[in-house]
C-alpha cells in the first residue's frame, strides 16, 4: 500500500522535474542571442522534407555496409579471440600476433585506417585488387571493429570458470573440442550485450566511408548542406541513425534483463 503511494508520488516528482528541466532549457535556448540565426540554419522544416528522400536513399548504403561488415567482424574476431586464448608455450607466436593486432587496430583512429586503406591500397595498382571505395571501406571497418570485438569475446572466454574446461577435458574432450563445445557457447551468450553495443558503434562509423567519396547518408547531407549553407539536412541524417539504433538498444536492454532474470532464477533453484 505504502509502496504504491510512493510509486505514484515518485512518478509525479519525476514528471514535474522533467517538465521544469526542459522548460528552463527551452527558455534559455530560445532567448539566446543567436537563436534566430540557429533556428534558420538548423531547423528549416521545408529543407528537411526536401532533403530526407535522398538522404534515406544514401542510408541504404550505410545499412548495406554495416550488415556486410558485421558478419565478417563476428567471424574474424572470434578467430582472433580463440588465437589469443590458446594455451601452451608452442602457441606463443599466435598469441603475440593476436595481441599486437588488437593493440594496433584499437590504437589507430578508424578514420585513418579508412584513409590509408581506401586511398593507399588502390594506389598500388595491383592487377585484380578492387578499387571500389565501398570494398575498402568495409575492409577497414572489419579490421578495426574485429580488434574490439575480439577483446569482447576474450572477456567472455575468460569469464567461463576454468573448472568447466577441466571437466570437459576429464570427459575426454580435446582442447579444441572443449573450447568449441563447452567454453565458447557459454562465453558468447554472456557477451551478447557488449557485442550489440559494438554493432551500434559500427553502424555510426559507416558514415566515415564518406571520406572515400561514397555518397551515403552523411555525405548526401553534406552535399545538401554545402548547396544551401543550411545545416538542417544533418538533422535528417541524425534522425535516420537514431531510428535504427533505438530498437537495437532496447533489444540489448531486454537481453540483459532476460539474462539477469535467468541467472537469478538459477540461483534460487
Amino acid at each position: 500500500m505504502t509502496r504504491g503511494g510512493d510509486g505514484r508520488r515518485g512518478v509525479a516528482v519525476a514528471l514535474a522535474s522533467t517538465v521544469v528541466f526542459f522548460a528552463v532549457l527551452a527558455v534559455v535556448v530560445v532567448n539566446s542571442p543567436g537563436w534566430d540565426e540557429v533556428k534558420r540554419a538548423f531547423f528549416d522544416w521545408q529543407l528537411f522534407r526536401e532533403s530526407l528522400p535522398a538522404i534515406a536513399e544514401g542510408f541504404k548504403t550505410n545499412v548495406k555496409i554495416f550488415m556486410i561488415a558485421e558478419v565478417f567482424i563476428l567471424a574474424f574476431a572470434l578467430v582472433l579471440a580463440v588465437m589469443r586464448s590458446l594455451k601452451g608455450p608452442v602457441f606463443f607466436p599466435i598469441r603475440a600476433l593476436a595481441t599486437v593486432y588488437a593493440d594496433l587496430f584499437r590504437g589507430i583512429p578508424t578514420i585513418l585506417v579508412i584513409y590509408i586503406l581506401g586511398f593507399g591500397a588502390p594506389a598500388l595498382q595491383i592487377e585484380g585488387v578492387p578499387t571500389s571505395t565501398i570494398f575498402w571501406g568495409i575492409v577497414a571497418l572489419v579490421l578495426v571493429y574485429s580488434a574490439y570485438v575480439a577483446e569482447v569475446y576474450r572477456a567472455g572466454i575468460e569469464s567461463v570458470h576454468p573448472s568447466q574446461e577441466a571437466a570437459a577435458r576429464s570427459l575426454g574432450l580435446s582442447g579444441m573440442q572443449s573450447m568449441r563445445f563447452v567454453v565458447l557457447p557459454q562465453a558468447v551468450r554472456r557477451v551478447i550485450p557488449p557485442l550489440l553495443n559494438d554493432f551500434i558503434g559500427l553502424q555510426k562509423d559507416t558514415a566515415l566511408i564518406a571520406l572515400l567519396g561514397t555518397v551515403e547518408a552523411f555525405r548526401q547531407s553534406q552535399i545538401d548542406v554545402a548547396a544551401t549553407f543550411n545545416y538542417t539536412p544533418y538533422l535528417a541524417t541524425a534522425l535516420l541513425f537514431v531510428l535504427i539504433t533505438i530498437p537495437l538498444a532496447r533489444f540489448t536492454d531486454w537481453l540483459v534483463a532476460r539474462d539477469r532474470r535467468r541467472q537469478q532464477a538459477g540461483r534460487l533453484a
Binding site: 588502390p122 567519396g213 548547396a227
Partner: protein, 293 residues
C-alpha cells in the same frame, strides 16, 4: 545605456581610424576610392584591416607565390593568382593599402556556419546559389565559371566527344562545389558519382582510377593536368545555358553592409576592364579544350 556606450566607443574608434587612414591615403593616394566607402565607414572586423578568409591549401591559378608559415602550396598575400590579385584590387579601391589586408585560413565548411565569422569576406571559388544566399550574403560576380572534365590520357573517357558520352562513366567532384550538381543535374550519369572532402582527395581518386573523370571548374584543370596528375588531360569544357550562368561571389555574414562597398568596387573593376585584364593574366590557358555538348 550600454548601446549608447558602444556607439560612443565605435565613434571614437572610427575617428581615430579616420585620422590615421587619411594620413595614409595622402601617402599612398588611393586610386579610385569609392564615394561613401572610406575605410572608417566599412564595418570591418578589425578597424582599418580587411580580413579575408580562404581555404588552405590555396591552389593555383586562384592563388600564387611561394607558401609562407600556415599556408600551403600558395601564399594568398602574394598578390599573385587571380583571387589574390582581385582581393588586393578590392582593398585598393576601398582605400586600404596592401599591408592592411590580413588573411585567415578557413575551411569551406566553416565559411557559412551561423554566428560571428572570423573574416570580413570569404574568397575561395564559391559559386552563388539562391539557396545559399538565404544564409549568407554574396557579392556580385568576380568570375563567370565553366566546369570541365579531367580524365587520364589513354583511358576510354579521354576520347569522349559529347555530353551524352560521359553518362556511362564513374565521375567525381569535390564537396561544396557546384561540379557535383552539374554531374547530377546535367550529365545524369548512370553510375553513382563520388564526392570527396578536398581537392587533394578527389585528385588522388582520379590518379588511383577510383573515378574515371573528375569534374572541376575549368581554370583549376591547368594545375591538375600540369602538376598534380601529369598523365591526365582535359576531356572537355561543360558550358551552362545562358541565363543562369554560374559565377563566383564573395561570402559575407548575412546582412553585412560591407558588401555594398565591395560590390561598388567589383562593378568598377568590371567597367574599367580590370577583371578582364586579371583574368587574362592569371587564368589564360593554352590549347583550349573542346566544349562538350
Amino acid at each position: 545605456m550600454r548601446k549608447a556606450l558602444i556607439t560612443c566607443l565605435a565613434l571614437a574608434a572610427a575617428l581615430v581610424v579616420a585620422a590615421t587612414a587619411s594620413g595614409r591615403t595622402d601617402a599612398t593616394k588611393a586610386a579610385g576610392a569609392i564615394p561613401g566607402c572610406s575605410p572608417a565607414s566599412l564595418n570591418l572586423l578589425a578597424e582599418g584591416t580587411l580580413t579575408i578568409g580562404t581555404d588552405n591549401p590555396a591552389f593555383p591559378p586562384w592563388w600564387g607565390g611561394t607558401p609562407k608559415k600556415p599556408w600551403q602550396v600558395s601564399d594568398p598575400a602574394s598578390g599573385k593568382g587571380y583571387e589574390s590579385a582581385v582581393a588586393y584590387q578590392i582593398a585598393k579601391r576601398l582605400g586600404l593599402a596592401k599591408g592592411d589586408v590580413k588573411w585567415v585560413a578557413v575551411p569551406f565548411n566553416n565559411s557559412f556556419k551561423p554566428g560571428k565569422k572570423p573574416f570580413d569576406f570569404y574568397m575561395a571559388q564559391v559559386s552563388y546559389k539562391p539557396e545559399r544566399a538565404k544564409n549568407v550574403t554574396f557579392s556580385t560576380a568576380y568570375y563567370y565559371v565553366d566546369q570541365a572534365v579531367v580524365g587520364i590520357k589513354g583511358t576510354p573517357i579521354a576520347s569522349v566527344r559529347s555530353l551524352a558520352g560521359l553518362r556511362k562513366y564513374k565521375l567525381g567532384a569535390q564537396i561544396g562545389t557546384t561540379s557535383y550538381e552539374y554531374i547530377v543535374k546535367t550529365i545524369k550519369p548512370t553510375r553513382q558519382p563520388s564526392v570527396f572532402d578536398s581537392n587533394a582527395d578527389a585528385v588522388a581518386a582520379l590518379k588511383n582510377k577510383q573515378i574515371d573523370g573528375l569534374v572541376v571548374d575549368y581554370p583549376s584543370t591547368g594545375y591538375i593536368t600540369g602538376v598534380q596528375v601529369p598523365t591526365s588531360k582535359v576531356v572537355g569544357r561543360l558550358r551552362q545555358a545562358g541565363a543562369g550562368r554560374e559565377y563566383f561571389g564573395l561570402i559575407f555574414s548575412r546582412g553585412n553592409v560591407l558588401v555594398k562597398c565591395v560590390d561598388k568596387a567589383l562593378t568598377a573593376m568590371k567597367a574599367d576592364g580590370t577583371l578582364a585584364r586579371l583574368e587574362r593574366i592569371w587564368l589564360a590557358q593554352s590549347g583550349g579544350a573542346p566544349v562538350l555538348k
